[in-house]
């Protein structure tokens, strides 16, 4: 089902005309109100008037996370604080947090995009949404919340944590849609299991999962364990929050980017060169309608590719492939690029392995050493050491075949890898560089 037929299925030519008009207005706005952008444009020798086509966007300088940090907290705002009705911030685990603001119209736009997203993921007016994304400075919780209300669905603002209570609510209230991070979803399934409650007996039909990279095999795992349809949602607070792109449940083949509000590009992360459709690289976004916090050519550090093929669902908006990693999550081990999500794929393709794993990178002498810890669950435990050893050897061999990097596999006891209520800690890098 499509929430916003007019815009979501608009012919490409009409869509591009809207994009150009909105892009020019956005550039005018930031040039006039944000000193950072004015300086950047001047250094590049351009003014907004030089952007006469969508292709001209390539002349505009990129914006990076570092730029946002240097303008902490409100330096990038393009609206007076009087008009800002909401402030969110990123967690800042890797440095200073980045702060974003919303005008009343921005909140309305965001709600609309989240209503579109929820419906693309299977939700309708009559649904009850169990929203286990965290509420607070993080955009996940409130993003889904406003979208659900806009859609007219009933939303349970349960937020993250207090897992046992969540299971009881699921059982008693009978929500039909689950929104959460994929790793927390697997945690929910585990706890439900321990409480003797089967997800199959609950009312869930669809799940909308995001805020961290996950793999196709993890989708299958979630769909099997929860007996639902699972789709991927994408967003980041710097662009708006969740609701930048959503997978339709009809195809489950990449995420439609809401192109009437965001202009995507894929670039080579090293050279900054714009890559053609279908090529994998770093995803870059320009917002087209935001007032308080417009963003110009923002380098997300997320790795994806764009697919312009028409989709069975009827949406005309371009699709991005599921995020395969991050340019900054990328580990370089003995010169090989390794993403934690690739290790996950290897593990999940061997169906006797639970997806609880952790990568530990250390330096032995002058060489990088990768250890992959994998939890041994009941399904593949054997009383024979020989068989466990074989399993561990096969995992190491598959990692080597798949990624081209040698890893030491360490089988560990269940629950010995820390579980997080939000995002999973998949990598420990002990290298001192």
């Amino acid at each position: 089902m499509i929430y916003d037929i007019e815009y979501e299925t608009m012919p490409r030519e009409a869509l591009q005309a809207i994009q150009l008009k909105r892009l020019q207005a956005t550039l005018e706005r930031v040039y006039a109100t944000v000193p950072f952008y004015r300086d950047k444009f001047e250094q590049a020798g351009i003014t907004p008037a030089d952007i006469r086509s969508l292709d001209d966007l390539g002349k505009v300088p990129f914006t990076t996370k570092q730029d946002l940090r240097e303008n902490y907290p409100f330096g990038m705002f393009a609206a007076p604080m009087d008009n800002v009705v909401r402030i969110h911030a990123s967690s800042g685990t890797t440095g200073q947090p980045t702060v974003v603001g919303y005008t009343a119209r921005d909140v309305k736009t965001w709600s609309l995009l989240m209503a579109r997203s929820l419906m693309a993921g299977g939700a309708t007016r009559g649904d009850m949404i169990h929203n286990a994304y965290g509420y607070g400075l993080f955009t996940g919780g409130l993003g889904v919340h406003y979208g659900a209300e806009r859609l007219g669905a009933s939303v349970i603002p349960v937020s993250g944590g207090n897992t046992k209570r969540q299971i009881v609510i699921m059982k008693d209230f009978g929500p039909t849609i689950l929104t959460a991070t994929p790793s927390y979803t697997l945690h929910l399934a585990e706890v439900a299991d321990e409480m003797g409650i089967s997800f199959g007996d609950l009312n869930f039909k669809y799940g909308i999962f995001g805020a961290e990279p996950w793999s196709e095999s993890m989708r299958q795992e979630i769909e099997r364990k929860l007996q639902i349809n699972a789709v991927d949602i994408y967003g980041l607070s710097e662009v708006i929050g969740p609701g930048v792109a959503i997978e339709c449940y009809e195809a489950k083949q990449g995420l439609h980017i809401f192109e009437d509000h965001f202009l995507p590009e894929i670039i080579d992360p090293q050279s900054g060169e714009v890559l053609p459709n279908g090529k994998t690289g770093e995803l870059v976004f320009t917002s087209l309608s935001k007032e308080a916090f417009p963003i110009i050519r923002y380098r997300t550090r997320d790795i994806s590719a764009l697919n312009p093929q028409p989709c069975v669902c009827g949406r005309t908006h371009v699709r991005m492939t599921r995020i395969s990693g991050r340019t900054d999550d990328m580990l370089i081990i003995r010169g090989v690029n390794v993403f934690p999500s690739q290790i996950e794929s290897v593990l999940m393709e061997m169906d006797y392995t639970e997806p609880h794993y952790q990568l530990v990178v250390d330096r032995e002498g002058s060489l990088d050493a990768l250890t992959v810890k994998v939890e041994v669950g009941e399904n593949h435990f054997s009383d024979e050491v020989k068989q466990l050893q074989e399993m561990s050897d096969t995992i190491a061999k598959n990692i080597k075949d798949y990624l081209g990097v040698s890893a030491r596999v360490k089988l560990v006891e269940p629950k010995s890898i820390p579980r997080s209520e939000g995002k999973a800690v998949r990598v420990i890098d002990k290298r001192k560089l």
Partner: protein, 143 residues
Amino acid sequence: MNPEQISVFLENKAGRLAEVTAILAEVDVNIRALAVADTSDFGVLRLIVDDNHKAMRALKNQGFTVSKTEVVAAKVSDRPGGLHFILKVLQANGLNVEYMYAFVQQSGDDAVMIFRFEDIARALKILADNNVTVIGGDKLYNM
């Protein structure tokens, strides 16, 4: 019924074995025989106890990975060549012993060995054909 052994996955960390024995002591389960097979990273603890059900539930509740395996308990005459006789018979029939360990208690004048076979039915037949006495689960747990 053939005896059943409980196997527990253990990381090679100080104190893990003591945690298992503490859990079993707490629920009043008596360990009748025990063997550990280990590598540098992990080990498998194999146990014969007097109450499998209670032991497994307690260990699982504490988050251990546990499994149950059917084994054979055979009487071995307690004299030179006693064990060799059984192994010779098994070898002659091309039957592989996955692993084995000794039971603590004697059965009369005989020692008792625990054997793990892939093909348990065939093993039982060969042992019977050669007049080796095997001990059932209920008797073994309370010997």
